[in-house]
């Protein structure tokens, strides 16, 4: 066992190998070989990840730094390294990423079968898995940033995978630039933090105490602030990185648009793994956030707002992938809220928030990945993302139907499915830590979640078929198998892992909250809200009286519905902002300054020099009277100048 742990670099090496071999050799000509290679390597990765996580979850191994390669030394103790930190948090993430990557690989063989570019697809998928694993095993924040950027770029390349589609291209650009914008703050945060602490290593950063910096000041250019405030400020900057990556409001718009990518990509990158990187970052630096007081409050408010906001939008959408995208946003909001609400009024920490958030990362990954794979299977059949083209697929796709029922029950939070356990803990933690409004929001959102998920479920599978597929509908083995495999963790990860996650806490001792109120009334209350949501959804979309076509009509609606349907016009606002302010304003002004103001000055200077040349040339015109005149004037001047009575006086 220990032997294997010491070879943990393999976990990074396997997908990297797959990326290099596929990218260089198999990408263009040997599509099948590429698929087989990367799938088998991802299988090995999944096995390896299982072994590691068994080691941590069941045998309870101590955290270790499996390897640490010196990448670039800066000054003194500030050294950037590439290493592999194995503890229960990273083991959980490794397990999630590897298992989902394996399922998605199998699925993609079926899904991308007819695509000529599938070789490139598998190469890029391996690149993503490599970067994501590098992110989660990072022992220092510099490595986190390196792989953070790499997951960003692999996400960019995969969203724009079908690069001849203008919508995919612009979505990929938007995703990259928005996350990059957030990342610039992240980088600034890292630099500020490392300037204060002289270290990138998480264990050093998490061990910081504000008291150590009492009386020190640091200059931020215009203002000078106490070092402890600068530390809090850098925490906030780092959180902005996670804000963008986890697509929290108002940087959320890239995530629904990212659905332009192939569905397996949406499944692994834009729901299960990459977008939780922001949550993971907060969890990884949780002790730092815990001492940075108000930052955790910001995390909570941002999370809670995104949670409600996205759930409301999800209730009106027609595009099946966008519904799932908004649902992802909403669930990410849950996780952020859980982390943020861990701070009790007296500044002690209710650790349940931390463990509930990590638990929800884990359970959410499986059922959300599964939901996307199901969506992909539906799209593959009807060749449309639109719910209008679906309906009545229950009988044609019985296995998929059964699986999606399980997934929908899981996300709605019905026991004994996994989503119930993690969501329940989030609700309890928010309540116990004394945030009643946030708790009410979360409860309301769980009602909305049940409503919109079952809206999707009923509209897709029940009723009559609203379109006639070009090809006969059937379930292919390669695409159904991973969906069915994912039902196992969706069914069991809840109650099996509940105990394990309950003991999850950061390595660093925190001042824990005591005397928490009892919360036994919450589980039944949450279930009631979820059931209400399902019932309402049944009433609207699946009962005898309902009319799915009318329910999906978005034109003949009141203004309120339309605003929600158009996502509160955030896409348009962003577009106008970039057009008018960035390109039309700043960039145009920069170019105007460069060409008109500065360019004119340069031209003026050159003409001045030319004019002076002309003047001097005229002086050498060869006209004798002119020379004589100048000579006489000069002599006279010299005579008078030397006789002026200035010196003698």
């Amino acid at each position: 066992m220990n032997n294997l742990i010491s070879h943990s670099y393999l976990i990074l090496l396997l997908p990297l190998l797959s990326f290099i071999i596929n990218g260089l050799f198999l990408c263009f000509r040997h599509r099948k070989m590429a698929a087989i290679l990367s799938t088998s390597l991802s299988f090995l990765g999944a096995v390896f990840a299982t072994i590691i996580s068994v080691n941590f979850f069941i045998s309870g191994a101590k955290p270790i730094l499996a390897f640490n390669y010196e990448f670039l030394p800066f000054t003194g103790t500030l050294v950037a390294t590439i290493g592999c930190l194995l503890d229960s948090l990273s083991a959980m993430m490794i397990l999630t990423v590897s298992l989902i990557s394996f399922a998605v690989h199998i699925y993609s063989i079926g899904y991308m079968e007819s695509d000529q570019a599938s070789g490139r697809f598998f190469a890029l998928l391996s690149l993503f898995v490599f970067s994501m694993l590098g992110l989660v095993i990072a022992p220092n924040i510099f490595q986190t940033f390196i792989f953070w950027e790499l997951v960003g770029v692999s996400s960019y390349l995969l969203i724009g995978f079908w690069y001849d589609r203008p919508s995919a291209v612009s979505a990929s650009k938007q995703a990259f630039i928005l996350t990059r914008f957030a990342d610039s703050f992240f980088l600034l945060g890292i630099i500020l933090l490392s300037y204060i602490t002289k270290s990138f290593v998480f264990s050093d950063i998490n061990a910081l105490r504000l008291e150590n910096f009492a009386g020190q000041m640091i200059s931020l250019g215009i203002i000078e602030i106490p070092t402890s405030d600068a530390l809090i400020f850098s925490t906030l900057l780092i959180f902005i990185g996670g804000w963008g990556k986890s697509a929290m409001f108002p940087l959320h718009i890239w995530l629904p648009n990212a659905m332009e990518g192939p569905t397996p990509v949406s499944s692994i990158i834009h729901s299960a793994t990459m977008v939780v990187a922001g949550v993971y970052l907060v969890a990884r630096l949780f002790p730092l956030f815990a001492i940075s007081g108000n930052v955790l409050e910001i995390v909570m408010i941002v999370g809670a707002f995104t949670m409600v906001f996205a759930a409301v939008i999800a209730c009106t959408q027609k595009d099946i992938k966008r519904i799932l995208a908004y649902s992802t946003l909403s669930q990410l909001g849950y996780m952020m809220l859980a982390l943020g609400s861990a701070r009790v009024a007296d500044s002690s920490i209710h650790i349940l928030g931390y463990s509930a958030a990590t638990f929800h990362i884990f359970t959410h990954a499986f059922f959300k990945c599964m939901l996307f794979l199901i969506a992909g299977a539906l799209i593959h059949q009807v060749h449309s993302n639109d719910l209008n083209a679906m309906g009545g697929l229950r009988k044609k796709m019985p296995w998929t139907y059964a699986a999606s029922l399980i997934a929908c029950l899981a996300i709605a939070g019905i026991p004994p499915f996994s989503g119930f356990y993690s969501k329940d803990e989030i609700l309890i933690s928010a309540y116990q830590a004394g945030h009643p409004i946030i708790f009410a929001c979360a409860l309301f959102t769980s009602f909305l979640t049940a409503f919109y998920m079952f809206r999707l479920f009923f509209l897709a599978f029940h009723g009559k078929m609203r379109s006639i597929p070009k090809h006969p509908v059937h379930e292919s083995l390669l695409m159904t198998l991973p969906i069915l495999l994912l039902t196992i963790p969706t069914l069991f990860s809840g109650f099996l892992f509940k105990g394990i996650f309950h003991n999850f806490s950061p390595e660093v001792p925190l001042s824990l909250a005591k005397n928490l109120p009892s919360a036994t009334f919450i589980p039944p209350l949450a279930i009631t809200f979820s059931v209400l949501g399902i019932l309402l959804s049944f009433l609207f979309y699946a009962s005898k009286k309902s009319n799915p076509a009318k329910a999906l009509d978005s034109d003949n609606r009141n203004a309120f519905y339309k605003i929600i349907y158009h996502k509160f016009y955030f896409d348009e606002i962003y577009y106008a902002f970039v057009r008018q302010f960035i390109l039309g304003g700043l960039a145009s002004f920069a170019r105007f300054f460069e060409e008109k103001i500065f360019g004119t000055l340069v031209t003026f200077a050159t003409t001045l020099i030319q004019k002076m040349g002309v003047l001097v040339r005229k002086a050498h015109a060869g006209s004798l009277p002119f020379y004589i005149a100048i000579m006489i004037i000069g002599l006279l001047f010299w005579y008078f100048a030397s006789n002026l009575p200035l010196q003698g006086a």
């Binding site: 670039l72 000054t75 940033f145 291209v169 990259f176 610039s184 600034l188 630099i191 300037y195 145009s588």
Partner: protein, 496 residues
């Protein structure tokens, strides 16, 4: 002894190549092969020298400047100027960069139909002049090589350029001449003060403070002209857009680094007191490069203009590193010189390849090129990623080092500009992605038959640059250590 001869050969060999290529027939394929072989020999010997220097730095580390394989001969006795060449860590890395760019530049003109002989001849002289600049440690010798380069640039752009080539060539050469005159004036002043041109000796003498006070800004800005520091950057867009591919690669990749090299190696090294007084004020100019540069690039449609402004902003980062005056920032600046040399070489090489196919550089008139010429497209995207600082490629290493280093300088202005520079990495992403998306993605605009497949020599160029970018990006440590050995003496002069 062998290495010593090799070092002398570095700049003599290109001249000999030109001499021996005169009898070769104009259209003979042997001509370019001969030139390429000569450039290849120079490249291999520069790599050999780099390895030698590396081993030397590892075996005997020292806080003094370590000049290896020096040759000292009497040259112009009347003004006691000497022929004094040698090599240290920084110059050995710059040599390798220059040699790679010259080698690939010759490959980039492989299919030039008219006037190849003259072009390659002047290109070799250009090569000789930059090798000379990086190895000479005598100010007169340095200046002679520095001037030779500007002249060749004029001839190559005016003779082989495209578009408004006369204007571009004149603008470039005249602006560089202003810089040169400033440099010359200060060099003469230094000689008048001390009576020596020897850089190593000069570094041990402290020039009078009043002299440094006046001379430093003139010398620094004189060098900064060729590195296109605001307000002397205006030659760069015009010059780049007029220049032929190989010359653009050379100009952005090597020539613009010579200025920064001069600033670090001569201006800051010899006049530390002047640097301490003036560099904080020069940060205002640097802010223009770093922060406004990317915004201007956003608004242009011509690929070469975009890349020219991109170069301006990246060179601004080099100056930010220099102006921050911490050892880490100096190292970052030096790394950025190398890194930017490779990435901009790749940029201009791929732009040349694209232009030779589409006959336009307007990105709005292109689209979907990734379908037709994927190899070149991927090369361009990699250059773009290196430019926006993607980890794993060299740009990130250099930028992160500069940022961390310049943040260590506690002066308020330096902090503000560092913070703004960090935040402006988003702007870089905007113009690079806009460019890549318009040009490479979307539906194919030009029919596929009109776009010939990637040629073998083009593949070679792209692959060699990508390898350089990745090596620097993944294994930066040996290079960083190597550069430190050159930079430490400069920093020691500053805090002395």
């Amino acid at each position: 002894m062998f290495e010593k001869n090799l070092l002398n050969l570095l700049w003599i060999l290109p001249f000999l190549t030109v001499l021996f290529s005169i009898p070769i027939k104009e259209n003979s394929p042997n001509l370019k092969r001969f030139h390429l072989a000569s450039a290849g020999v120079v490249l291999l010997s520069s790599i050999y020298l780099l390895i030698q220097v590396f081993q030397n730095t590892i075996t005997n580390p020292s806080s003094q400047i370590q000049l290896l394989y020096e040759t000292k001969l009497n040259w112009l006795n009347a003004i006691s100027a000497k022929y004094f060449i040698g090599i240290d860590a920084l110059s050995s890395m710059m040599l390798v960069l220059a040699a790679i760019i010259i080698f690939t530049g010759i490959l980039a003109t492989w299919r030039l139909e008219k006037g190849q002989k003259v072009f390659l001849g002047f290109f070799q002289i250009l090569a000789a002049s930059v090798y000379g600049v990086f190895i000479s440690f005598d100010l007169v010798l340095f200046f002679v090589f520095y001037e030779m380069e500007a002249l060749c640039m004029y001839l190559l752009i005016a003779g082989y350029g495209s578009g408004n080539k006369d204007y571009g060539a004149k603008k470039l050469t005249l602006t560089l001449a202003i810089g040169s005159s400033m440099i010359l004036a200060v060099f003469l002043g230094i000689y008048a003060e001390t009576g020596t041109w020897n850089l190593i000796e000069l570094s041990k003498i402290a020039l009078p403070e009043s002299f440094q006070y006046y001379a430093f800004p003139i010398l620094f800005l004189g060098f900064a002209v060729s590195s296109s520091l605001f307000p002397f950057h205006f030659w760069s867009p015009a010059g780049h857009s007029a220049a032929p591919t190989a010359v653009s690669m050379f100009a952005a990749g090597v020539m613009m680094k010579m200025g920064a090299y001069g600033c670090l190696r001569i201006a800051i090294y010899l006049m530390p007191e002047g640097a301490k007084i003036w560099l904080p004020y020069l940060l205002i100019f640097i802010a223009f490069n770093v922060i406004i540069g990317p915004f201007i690039a956003m608004r242009h449609k011509d690929l070469k203009f975009i890349t020219a402004y991109s170069s301006i902003s990246h060179l601004g980062l080099i100056f930010l590193g220099l102006a921050a005056m911490t050892p880490l920032a100096f190292r970052g600046a030096a790394l950025q010189m190398i890194s930017h040399g490779f990435l901009t070489g790749l940029f201009f090489a791929t732009i040349g390849m694209i232009y030779s196919r589409t006959h336009t550089r307007d990105i709005t008139q292109m689209g979907g090129l990734m379908k037709a010429i994927p190899f070149i497209g991927v090369g361009f995207v990699i250059a773009g990623f290196a430019g926006l600082g993607l980890p794993g490629l060299s740009g990130f290493v250099a930028e992160a080092t500069i940022f961390i280093g310049s943040f260590e300088n506690p002066s308020p202005l330096c902090r503000v500009i560092t913070i703004l520079a960090i935040l402006s990495i988003t702007a870089t992403a905007i113009y690079i992605l806009r460019c890549a998306n318009k040009m490479l993605h979307g539906p194919l605009v030009i029919s596929k038959e009109l776009l010939p497949k990637t040629l073998p020599e083009e593949k070679f160029i792209i692959v060699s640059y990508v390898i350089c970018l990745i090596i620097l990006g993944i294994f930066p440590m040996p290079f960083a250590k190597l550069l430190d050995s050159s930079i430490y003496p400069i920093y020691m002069n500053l805090i002395r």
